[in-house]
Symmetry: C2
Subunit: 451 residues, 2 copies
Amino acid sequence: MLKAVVGEPNVSTAAVVLEQHGHDESMHRCSPPDAVVWPQSVEQVSRLAALCYDHRIPIIPFGTGTGLEGGVNAIRGGICFNLTHMDRILDLNVDDFSVTVEPGVTRKALNSYLRDTGLWFPVDPGADASLCGMAATGASGTNAVRYGTMVENVVNLEVVLANGQILHTSGQGRRFRKSSAGYNLTGLFVGSEGTLGLITTATLRLHGIPEATVGAVCAFPSIQTAVDCTVQIIQSGVPVARIEFLDEVMIDACNKYSGLTNAVAPTLFLEFHGSQQGLEEQLRRTEEITQQNGSSHFVWSEELEEQNRLWAARHNAWYATLALRPGCKGYSTDVCVPISRLPEIMVQAKEDMKTSGLTGTIVGHVGDGNFHCILVFNSEDADESRRVEEFVKQLGRNALAMRGTCTGEHGIGLGKRQLLKEEIGPVGMETMRQIKSVLDPKNLMNPGKVL
Amino acid sequence: MLKAVVGEPNVSTAAVVLEQHGHDESMHRCSPPDAVVWPQSVEQVSRLAALCYDHRIPIIPFGTGTGLEGGVNAIRGGICFNLTHMDRILDLNVDDFSVTVEPGVTRKALNSYLRDTGLWFPVDPGADASLCGMAATGASGTNAVRYGTMVENVVNLEVVLANGQILHTSGQGRRFRKSSAGYNLTGLFVGSEGTLGLITTATLRLHGIPEATVGAVCAFPSIQTAVDCTVQIIQSGVPVARIEFLDEVMIDACNKYSGLTNAVAPTLFLEFHGSQQGLEEQLRRTEEITQQNGSSHFVWSEELEEQNRLWAARHNAWYATLALRPGCKGYSTDVCVPISRLPEIMVQAKEDMKTSGLTGTIVGHVGDGNFHCILVFNSEDADESRRVEEFVKQLGRNALAMRGTCTGEHGIGLGKRQLLKEEIGPVGMETMRQIKSVLDPKNLMNPGKVL
């Protein structure tokens, strides 16, 4: 039986705990640690880690707890390293587009700090997550289609290894834009979910704040035409900053929840960044492509307030879905497939939801081929909970069959370890295990996660 | 004493061999393997690797041999795996912007194959290198400022490991745009220079061919103003596709070599990709910024022939430098620093060349902070060869002191192992060695390189 409380990605206070009375891997119990420490510096983290190493005590890194796959659950007990008291922003270099942050710094805090510099950090998973935590989970979000995910935006990491040693993945204090010096340790630690070490600072790549922003919305006759349109927009070279898909069930839910009047149809929400003149052309070309794909109503605005109104459905998607069944819990899937397979897998997912008697909506970062089914279910109903689990697993396998991944941005955590095995295969798993075993020989770093 | 024959990055036939009579690490002897094999399939590579594993025979992967750091030298003997007979282009997916290539496929062959699809693969190191080799060395080049390096453009790799096992770094046949499933093995193998395994296919991310291209050139009163201009162009959001710097010595050499009349001054060569209208605006904004930085003469063209004329100096930079001292050899450095430090390090390099009595030019991918000093020297002159080595090492250390890297895109190979140690530090080196030791326990994969 499931007892699920899942945080919506764009809720900063999300407490992400999935409770389950059973042994199925796709969901996970809430497991508190034996103790929590709040180190104030990398030296303290290092000394504490060395102590844990000597005494074989598991270490669970903790940032904002906004992760969605149970990564902070202490399933083997141990000590939770709450790193939020390390919250300095260091070494801002405007001309070099780089900054270094400690684990207590969230993306909103950083962007607020950067406000007057003309720069920003674009990766936006929704939640106001810790940037070091975003590095740890390989986060991305709505604008990865333009600015990339964490792996493309982390320049260097300071990591405390299992034995307490302090590693600088690109060399201490380095902040070059590119390098081919030795193995890409930065890329290895990004997305390792705390299983290889504790990230104590991240040096990030910054981007220029766009001169202007335009938001747009357009409805389509089908999922297929909305996805075709997405492919053509990208192929035509329009540097779209966000391109989000909502299915008609989601639109309907949003209309009801927020009193909107969006056409109840598969819909794309777009955002463009650029100069005034550049935006005009991006809009013109995009509108042409939307019309060629059967969208008759392309609405856009360069006024912030009006953009917020246009994007209201997208912004409230999580709560609008929860409101479909008051008192129920939500669960978000996270598969990612080659874009050409999106229509097929989304149509199949909608049919499977219907067949399984489940209620859910779809929202997708379609430019990346990544989408989420948001399921609302009665976690007290054992049978419904089982159907949710089966649906989630089947969707993951459908994605794998289409050459996709079981997780585009949420990570493996506890729940997707079986799917990871199917995704990467035995040699890949063995390679990952070898790396883990040599860097964390006592299996103390966030044990039981990922592998 | 040095006997150097270094291939210019943009010469497809470059034979890259640095011969040295001495034991200094910054240059390297030509070391042929004991035997060469030409496998036709991944199965053959796998069986051959397993044989080598059983008999403890080193393996040296070979693509086009265009690498610049001696990566194909068989310094401990062994078998050269020439992979050029595996030259199929597989699994082109236009809607998904992806393609898979075997090691015999060069970037020009791929782009020729893609010509009618509207897509291209942009990473351009100059040489017509094998794409799998470019993945192995973490190559980049002139347009990384816009399209990224190999690490951002490789989606999946098929790798034969030391023991003959076949690994698919993102899972067999997968070609998603993003994933957070487990450790980033793809990123680990990109840039590992054949020391962790043999890359037998690479799945690549493709990009839309730009509607139009504009080339431009402008001269500056100083290195500082040229770099300031570069920073401002990037910061203003102009998506410049290439931004190359040539110092006044290089411009003078190019004028003489190619009968050009470029102003003898620090100069930026730019290329813009986009739609007709978008390009107009990119040009207008860029010209404004160049003028603000003291450049009085911004010349541009959208005609291909005229663009080639404008860019002639950049295209002929290597040969123009060699022509400064006919009969002499060339050597290219490769440091990369935070952009703000570029003026300082380039001015210092020019002074050091003068002080050392060396002849050389500077060409830089300034948008990335990466530049090359191209030195021409008499390899028969022991004293001059020694001065080249000292200059090269000092430049690497200057870059490290400025938080940079000793190699932006050429890799470590044989010559930069000492600098890598200084760059990454003891814990970083130990981490890399641990990874190497567990994936290649007998140290047979391209031994003696990188670590």
